[in-house]
Symmetry: C2
Subunit: 294 residues, 2 copies
């Protein structure tokens, strides 16, 4: 059964929300798309670019006729959005989101929604360094993973329909628990970001050393140019898992430091080899899965 | 006075040594280039590619008629090379090198050379992920920094001539002490490499998490695919400075961990902002200095 949506409401019409809208429109499975946001200029641009059909600033009004609502706002804003839409949401409407952390978003949903069975949390692992509706494009999710984190309360039909939505935009859907999602993402995304910020801070203390950094440093620290506000919010929303990963990293750094202290080349070599092996293997797997576009 | 070399001996005819040879040949300032190495196939290829004129496996024989000797071997091999060339080196011949650490190389020179006044340590900050003479190209050093680390014993004329060599191949020469060099490089190169290895090891422990890593992780961990043997040697040759930088990084990680523990968003935001500011500022400076080619 192919996906058919009468009224999609996209709360947060930026890169992610706009790209979902464009991809669903391209698939011809949505009758009307309403964008919700605070920035009128961005919303007007989204209409003129054909990303959305119309827009609304009031969340309650917007969702009153929705059959699917997509939350594509920063994770820290989810609480406020759930609070604003709870009273007006039709009882049969589905909700999904695109947040980078999942336990915190489910906690907000449970706090404000009378029934969370129609909320199917999602995290599409895709993005670019650009933001806003003008940066949206229909191909953003193609061949990218999207992790859904239903729980015991999630309605099976709701899950199937939301899964179909994310597959229709091109994602490869994986299902896991919210706790597992947050642990995995703490490893592969949140820890690297925090470590990049920490390394740049550690290095930039050294007066003029920075001038001598070369291309390797540029690549290594690229993610330290990410939005500080967004990363503050993600870090706060996933702090237990992230603290655990920081401990793992500190343990690895301690091993290297001890090896340096004792001039233990064997330990250094073993550690460097295992890292290279893991990283090269991962890259190889990714290339086979995603082609050269990773 | 332009550079003129009668007999250049390049010990280690790989990417760096080969590229110096090609760049000097292109500049028309060298009469004969002899390559020294253990790999006969690589040396034959270097001859057939016009990188060197001839080759020799015996270091002592090769340097007997040299006026300039370039050591372009891994830092851990420098000791052995100085030991092998000490007896045969003409008293007026100059030596320079291309090692990633400078105190350790000077220590080897002081151990084996009767006179270090003609040794001018150098570190050209340039490279690619390829190796061997076939990967060499004359433009490798163009607009790249090359750090020279003369000391109180260094002969002024030797320094001027070696400086001219590195400028002729296209480098922007900077002069600092070996101790300062090792501290700077520990910050901007050695620490990031060790941290990348540590992060990959920390993350790859998490069973299947790795599969969900995306493009940011690929860039962040690229340097973890570097040669384990080379990085073991560099780390061991610069362990005091590197341990110090690991301490700095761990201190930054501790601050972030404490902020997470206490849900202190203000500290996280301040740290992330200062890192982004430093990184963006550095990138901007680099683009102005090096163009878009960094």
């Amino acid at each position: 059964m192919s996906l058919s949506i009468k009224h999609l409401v996209v709360i947060g019409t930026g890169l992610i929300g706009g790209s979902v809208a464009l991809a669903l429109r391209r698939a011809g499975c949505v009758e009307r798309i309403t964008g919700v946001g605070r920035n009128a200029r961005n919303l007007k641009e989204a209409v003129s670019l054909g990303v959305i059909d119309d827009y609304e600033h009031d969340i309650g009004k917007a969702v009153a006729t929705a059959d699917i609502v997509l939350l594509a706002v920063p994770v820290a804003a989810c609480k406020q959005v759930f609070s604003a839409l709870a009273k007006s949401l039709p009882s049969d409407a589905l909700i999904t989101d695109a947040g980078s952390t999942k336990q915190s978003v489910m906690a907000s949903a449970q706090k404000y929604l009378t029934d969370v069975s129609h909320f199917v949390p999602a995290h599409p692992i895709a993005g670019t360094e650009h933001s806003g509706a003008a940066a949206a494009f229909a191909e953003l999710f193609e061949k990218r993973m999207c992790i859904l984190t239903p729980n015991a309360q999630t309605d099976a039909a709701a899950l199937a329909r939301v899964r179909s939505l994310w597959e229709t935009v091109g994602s490869q859907v994986k299902i896991m628990s919210a706790i597992e999602h947050d642990d995995v993402l703490a490893s592969v995304s949140h820890l690297p970001h925090l470590a990049a910020f920490a390394i740049v801070n550690a290095v930039s203390k050294d007066n003029h050393a920075f001038r001598f950094a070369a291309g390797g440093f540029r690549d290594f620290t690229r993610i330290a140019s990410s939005s500080p506000e967004m990363w503050r919010d993600i870090a706060l929303c996933n702090s237990p898992a992230l603290m655990n990963k920081i401990d793992h990293l500190q343990a690895e750094l301690n091993i290297l430091r001890e090896a340096l202290k004792h001039a233990d080349g064997a330990v250094l070599l073993e550690k460097f080899k295992s890292a290279k092996l893991a990283r090269d293997g991962w890259l190889n797997d990714m290339k086979q899965t995603n082609g050269e576009t990773l």
